[in-house]
């Protein structure tokens, strides 16, 4: 739990990593991609406060001690959710695989949840692997990288025909939470990887599954917002939003949060630090104190207000609900607390 000014907050970090991108792990012949990927990530770290920046060597491979200190001790994170990202084409043992994440999770019982992944382009073998992973890691969620390269293909979509059996399999296996990466392009991925519209169809077809759109579709946030208002099971994953904007571009951050609160609502927004890109502490600390820079200014005045309950939901309680995490009684909120989501409806720009 995170403590500030005598107040205690229950924190779920919905998006964190424990990766190995050190040169020893680069696939021969794909070094430029392995290097390019991690350097691109490292550039994002530059959007946080200078005192939190790491040298590239540490960034490529940080230790277990770093993780425990940054996430649990300094960050006060109660439960972290590992979003596994394989990138086997570039990293020999994977970038951060479920297996590696599970090793760390086993040492910290109850503190880390391991999410798996699937890739519909792997077909039948991929389905069998998902079944196996679900059993091994007791999967409740998966991270999906629709822009990942695979044998000459440079991406896939959630509304592809080949994806359907995988979504059905998730339902069957009780994998309820699908974190979909829709965000800033990371070289060398992507054709138009941040287009979030494929989530729309999948969310309609599978009302029992939750779709957490990580990075809220930036830079296509309007597509994401208009889609999310129509789908009760679409959530906003704030990884990169807080880390990448709150410090570097505070005024734009305020607009983004205001729009998300309006269109998506505080009950459907989930904090994620995206550690090791950014340490959680400054993000949590800053967000607890956060308000619109000039609340009565016309730019912000008709956005939903932010209060203590809003922050508690976003920082942990919403994710706890999705993942069935038991929150200590004193850290829960009374029912009805906070600002309800706007009863607003929107259509995608195509039809508006």
């Amino acid at each position: 739990m995170y403590e500030k000014n005598g107040e205690k907050y229950f924190i779920v970090d919905g998006h964190c990593h424990f990766w190995d991108a050190s040169p020893d792990n680069w696939v021969k012949g794909a070094e430029q991609y392995a290097k390019g990927w991690i350097e691109c990530f490292h550039a994002y770290m530059g959007l946080g406060p200078p005192e939190t920046h790491w040298p590239i060597e540490k960034f490529m491979k940080y230790s277990e001690e770093d993780f425990v200190k940054d996430v649990f001790e300094d960050g006060g994170v109660d439960v972290g959710i590992f979003q596994s990202t394989y990138l086997n084409e570039w990293y020999t043992t994977g970038f951060n695989t479920a297996a590696k994440n599970a090793e760390l999770a086993a040492k910290h019982p109850g503190k880390l949840i391991v999410n798996g992944r699937f890739d519909p382009r792997e077909g039948e073998a991929g389905l069998r692997q998902l079944e196996k992973d679900a059993k091994t890691y007791n999967l409740q969620g998966v991270k999906l990288y629709t822009a990942e390269w695979y044998q000459g293909s440079r991406g896939w979509r959630l509304d592809d025909e080949q994806t359907k059996p995988f979504l059905a399999k998730c339902e069957e296996l009780g994998i309820k939470n699908l974190h979909v990466h829709k965000g800033p392009t990371i070289w060398p991925l992507d054709k138009d990887a941040f287009d979030p519209r494929d989530v729309d169809q999948a969310a309609t077809d599978h009302p029992e599954l939750n779709f957490i759109v990580e990075h809220v579709g930036l830079p296509r946030i309007e597509d994401f917002c208009f889609m999310a208002t129509q789908e009760p099971n679409v959530y906003a994953g704030l990884s990169v939003v807080i880390g990448g904007l709150m410090y570097a571009r505070p005024r734009f951050f305020a607009k983004v949060i205001g729009e998300l609160l309006f269109w998506v609502g505080e009950d459907k927004m989930l904090f994620g630090s995206d550690y090791g890109i950014w340490e959680p502490k400054w993000q949590i600390d800053g967000f607890i104190d956060w308000d619109y820079p000039d609340p009565d200014h016309e730019e912000f005045s008709d956005f939903p207000r932010v209060n203590d309950a809003t922050k508690r939901k976003i920082l942990g309680l919403n994710a706890a609900r999705l993942y069935g995490i038991d929150v200590p009684v004193q850290l829960r909120l009374p029912d009805e607390a906070g600002t309800p989501a706007a009863q607003e409806d929107a259509q995608l720009v195509e039809s508006a």
Binding site: S153, I221, R251, K255, E259, D345
Partner: protein, 234 residues
């Protein structure tokens, strides 16, 4: 260069010339034109990059006296594929065979034209509302009542491109289907438009500052300073 000024970045809805994406344009005495384009990052989405290259090619080829056109995308991670397809006069599928079924990218273009239209129309509409005009009056206006501003002009160009009515008697503000915007829809439409504008401004700001940093360009006269992230956000 005038012909290239008619080519817009499909995402930002701004001419590639004012965005400073044209790094050189050489015309030989025998009518060969070579245009080089530079984008803000080597990772700009290939579909947008392709559209700008193909549009530039078309815009130049139309000019009298032009014998051949060569458009080259500089330093882009899929530049080789895109340049080869442009030189062969092929579509997007020619650049990425087997990876895309979308050859002319017209749906993508239209989607972003619709976004731009909402943004442009709303700037005009907000300006009218800000002068205290009542919403019913504003929404009752016709194309012929639109002010002679760049925003209004561009909104009509976009309407024409999208096949929406734009004759003098057509409504000043229209929805995607060409029907007039109504007072009942106005509040929601204004909110949507604001978010679209925020997104466009933010993306435009990011693109400008990336380009400036990458090519070590001086600030544009009258443009937002791009060294201060706060300013870019505004």
């Amino acid at each position: 260069m005038d012909a290239l000024a008619g080519v817009h970045d499909p995402e930002l809805d701004e001419p590639i010339t004012t965005l400073r994406f044209v790094s050189s344009c050489v015309v030989t005495p025998d009518g060969v034109v070579r245009v080089a384009l530079r984008l803000p990052t080597p990772q700009c989405a290939p579909n947008f990059a392709f559209l700008m290259g193909a549009d530039a090619r078309r815009a130049i080829a139309r000019l009298p006296g032009v014998r051949s056109v060569q458009v080259t995308l500089e330093d882009h991670y899929t530049g080789e594929e895109i340049n080869a397809a442009l030189h062969r006069g092929e579509g997007f599928m020619g650049a990425f065979p087997g990876e895309t079924g979308d050859d002319d990218l017209e749906a993508l273009r239209a989607l972003f034209q619709r976004k731009a239209l909402i943004a442009r129309q709303s700037v005009v509409c907000e300006a009218m509302l800000a002068t205290g005009d009542d919403p019913d009056g504003v929404l009752g206006r016709r194309v012929s009542d639109l002010p002679p501003t760049p925003e209004a002009r561009r909104s009509l160009e976009l309407r024409e491109a999208l096949g929406l009515p734009c004759d003098a008697d057509a409504p000043a503000f229209v929805l995607a289907d060409g029907q007039a915007l109504t007072a009942a829809e106005l509040p929601r439409w204004r909110r949507m438009a604001r978010l679209v504008r925020t997104s466009l401004e933010a993306n435009g700001g990011i693109c400008r500052s990336l380009l400036q940093i990458r090519h070590n360009l001086a600030s544009e006269p009258g443009a937002v300073p791009t060294t201060d992230p706060e300013e870019v956000a505004r």
